[in-house]
Symmetry: C2
Subunit: 224 residues, 2 copies
């Protein structure tokens, strides 16, 4: 039971955050973010603090989210308040020979900053196309694109990754020397994402037989 | 690209939160929490808002976390400030025939409240034993228990689940009638947790050959 939280900054000063960030290069940070479909956004609306999971994607040095114009999350984020965002991948449980040396393997990113609105139809559509590319490469050329009304009803926001910290724990059990001879199984119970068999929607009997299966569907279960 | 955030409360009033909560029974809420090893805790320390992932477990109607006494998260949470906690499981990507009807399947819980300190050695140890039971049933009888110093250096905190909301999206693609005949693959790309082959720690050559493999290690890859 390791006492370190995956994403906890040791101090809250900006300098310290950036110092932590420097533990990992930008490539590592991007890999952690790109492996995630969801992020957790923390904000305080002046009354309460909230933690809201929502879909996300990255382009260059920005994290993007989207929502309906009327949605509460959208309204709050467009106000430009300070937020903190956590993304965490759990990679396994680490079983040590003593209870208090148990820990977990993880990769996490924590981002600080404020969101800005992505304005203009072209810019919004380009951002949403990038989201679709993350979900299924090439599908933006297959699915019906959003029309003007759908696009107008949607807000796209982005936050700079300038102030982001990556943390990784990738270890085996670390026991005290005096515990090493205890007759206790020690090791790692790995966890990762399982990509299950795609389920084609054919309940409505529309086109279910004569649509070619896209590559991203065929290859889904082979991802790792 | 569905505009609903998994955990976003529609309004921030307590009444509304409890109304949402009523959409799901306690059993459903507990299942979502019990399936998680990590939660994301949002809090504002008077200077900034933070989102910190940390290990968690449930006992009865409380969510528990722990940390070292000197850790920043522990210090902040023991001060009794208002927090919001999100737990989310991503179950799949839902590919609709039109771009803006894409969504994700998920199960999420959002908890509001303040943490309280679990005091007293017996109470703390009982809580940490419950955490170990979650990680590996029965292992509390195998691993060396914490000694007085280890226990004293660790804080255990809990938060009531009285104000918690569960949200579930479990759907196939929902397209407009006029999109149903588009020749576009539609369906679900499922995601779940993969429990990988356990990796026994024997790099240090301690007891690696003569330790029986516990049931929770043998059965790890069969979990679902």
């Amino acid at each position: 039971m390791n006492q370190q939280s995956p994403g906890a900054p040791s101090k809250r000063t900006r300098v310290r955050r950036l110092a932590e960030r420097a533990h990992y290069d930008q490539k590592t940070l991007y890999e952690i973010i790109d492996a995630a479909y969801l992020c957790n956004i923390a904000f305080n609306d002046g009354e309460s603090t909230h933690c809201i999971p929502t879909a996300c994607w990255r382009q260059e040095n920005y994290l993007y989210v989207h929502g309906s114009n009327g949605g509460r999350l959208t309204k709050v984020l467009t106000a430009g308040i300070q937020v903190s965002i956590a993304i965490t991948h759990l990679d396994g449980l680490v079983l040590a020979r003593s209870a208090f040396n148990h820990t977990m393997n993880y990769r996490s990113a924590v981002i600080y900053g404020t969101f800005e609105i992505v304005d203009g139809s072209q810019q919004k559509m380009a951002a949403l196309d990038a989201f679709m590319d993350k979900i299924a490469a090439g599908r933006k050329h297959e699915a019906r694109p959003g029309d003007a009304n759908e696009l107008a009803a949607t807000s796209v926001l982005r936050i700079s990754l300038a102030e982001a910290a990556a943390k990784i724990n990738n270890t085996g059990p670390e026991d005290k020397p005096e515990d090493l001879d205890l007759p206790v199984w020690a090791g790692i119970l790995p966890m990762s994402v399982k990509y299950g068999e795609p389920i084609q929607s054919n309940a409505d009997q529309h086109n279910s037989g004569d649509i070619p299966t896209p590559a991203y569907v065929q290859e889904w279960t082979n991802r790792s």
